[in-house]
Amino acid sequence: MAKIKIDHRKCTGCRLCEMACSLQHVENTFQPSRSRIRVFVHENLYFPVIAGPYTEAACNLQHVTMVDGQEFDACIFCRASCPVKPIFKEPDTGIPLKCDFCGEPPDPQCVSVCMNEALVLVEEEENKPQEKAG
């Protein structure tokens, strides 16, 4: 089973992945707000996050994540389409967005334009149990 492997240290913040994803899902249009992958950019940190399941309510838990020696609000790296986040929602309707792996078989457009190998498609031989959506 194929997986996208993200190595944020290799990401340079070009956002071509956002561009490719939105062109794939929105007719004739480049629109990062409708992309299923978003890259968080802060100084020297570039962190791609791929949209996962929708959640109705925010977690109660408050926590921080250390990345490359800096503390960040953990919600930044969470893939849920969640009420506390302005991303992973259709801007006009609020309908949650979720990565669909660009169809079946997977043809991830984001990976196809990531020249720096921050996103790579890896094949895994044995089928591991899939995470539940929703």
Partner: protein, 606 residues
Amino acid sequence: MDGWVGKILRVDLTTGNCTEEDLDLGLAKKFVGGSGLGTKILYDEIDPNIDALSPENKLIFATGPLTGTGAICGSRYMVITKSPLTDCVTSSNSGGYFGPELKFAGYDMIIFEGKAPEPIYLTVFDHQVELRSAKHLWGKDVPEVEKCIRSEASSPWEAEGTKILSIGQAGENLVKMSCIMNDTTRALGRSGVGAVMGSKNLKAVAVRGRKGVRVYDSQGFKDEMHAFLKDMQEVESIGWKARFNFGTWVIIQAMVNMRMLPTRNFQAGIIEGVPTPPEMREQILVKERSCFSCPFAGGRGSRITDPEFEGEGEGPEHESYTMLGPNCGITDLAAVTKASYICNEKGMDTISTGSTIACTMELYERGYIPEKDVPFPIRFGDKYAMVKLVEMMATREGIGDLLAEGSYRLAEHYGQPDVSMTVKKHEMPALHPQGYQGLALSYSTSNRGACHTKCNMVFGKRFEVEGTAELVKKGQDYTALLDAAGACWSIYSATRYLDDHLVRALETCTGAGYTKEVAMRTGERIYNLQRLFNLRAGITGNDDTLPRRILETPLLDGDNEGKVVMLGKMLPEYYQLRGWDKSGVPTPGKLEELGLTEEGGLLWQK
């Protein structure tokens, strides 16, 4: 409408009125966008003879159709205004994320006019436009301004998603080489555009948007993206890996190899002790950074550990290193990096800043500056003096006040205008023109004064005069097109190989009928329109020249030995190829051919 988003935002700073206008599609096709459409609007709306720092000047931020698309390196936007440094029309270009975000917020362009009664900044969030007081931001430098504005956002994604341009203290102080910074370390760099913004009491613009940019032929566009990425991996001359590893530092090495690294105010073309790209990488690099849609990641997130000059930021790029370093007789990477950080924070063009300091050093060493005028000796090679002078220029402290006027006015003040290494009062960049005849011709004729970004870098044989005029003309027209389209000069001018990619991206993006021929003609039209503006502003063919030293005193190093610039030979041929008369004025026939008859009429109307 494809490529263009179709709206212009006009902000009258005097009254606070913000209005939305439809983009005229006919004009857009004719002038594309960016510097092309921006120059057209400036040409139509202001008298080129006005004082650049008066409320009558306008400040136009313009994207191109490729800005904010997946076009490779489609990150660029431009500011178009009359320059206070040169009195020419200028178009300064920047990458980062601001330009694309402006289009996502729904605008191709923002036109600022008038002058705000007190400091303000503009926010544009999805067509929601608001002018806010910037009293609390005035006096602050660029990183702090961005931090302050971001602190108002309700989530980290919104904070970081807000893209900001601003001026630092230099722009507020009307420093004639001040720039406008976006994304903290990217600059709309040259010609003093920051001072124009400062003169309008406009501190910053913050944009955020969720809209999209439509393209005409989605499949064709996508194919072109992938064709580019494929070539990038396969064609050596595009230099992908070298750019990724070393950014523009590879140019420093090339200049060292060719002995055309401006040294001690252009008196030489080489200096001992310049670190190699791998050494620079090892000493200061923290992170390779991209602009929007750019896989090359030539931006250098960097850090200085030397306790004397400690700091963190981005760069220095080739231009910054050379002009603040070797051109001032300095090679110390830490000191130069520090100076370049200060320039970024205060919002100052590193090229003009470095060149003006070098000019000061030469004037001082030759005894033209009396001791009473200087707070400390200002000699070539003195890194402490250099760093200190950068600060003094930004705040106009002491002799910094005079330096802030640029090297031409400084040298003229001391009765030695020939010591200023400028064309049309614009400091020459970090490629020594005596090492390339074509480069020299492009500096002398460039519409914004000496500049490396207004002509293709490929010049054929270095010392050959034959055929050079034609290469320069073509390079300038092509670059005018690039600047209008919203693509990155640094990449698309690296090799002629990329012309086709640009035209294909532009055509699949807009569907406006840009064949290669139409596209190049469009570039030529834009170039001629800029020329018309300058002629009306009183800049003539007599100004198409170079500093006397470059024309008369040969360099002593390597291949350049004994070479001076043969401008007298190249210029008449260049004018002829351009369809201009002997004094460098476009002929009515040429203007008619380019569809500029009406614009040309204003020249003779005076």
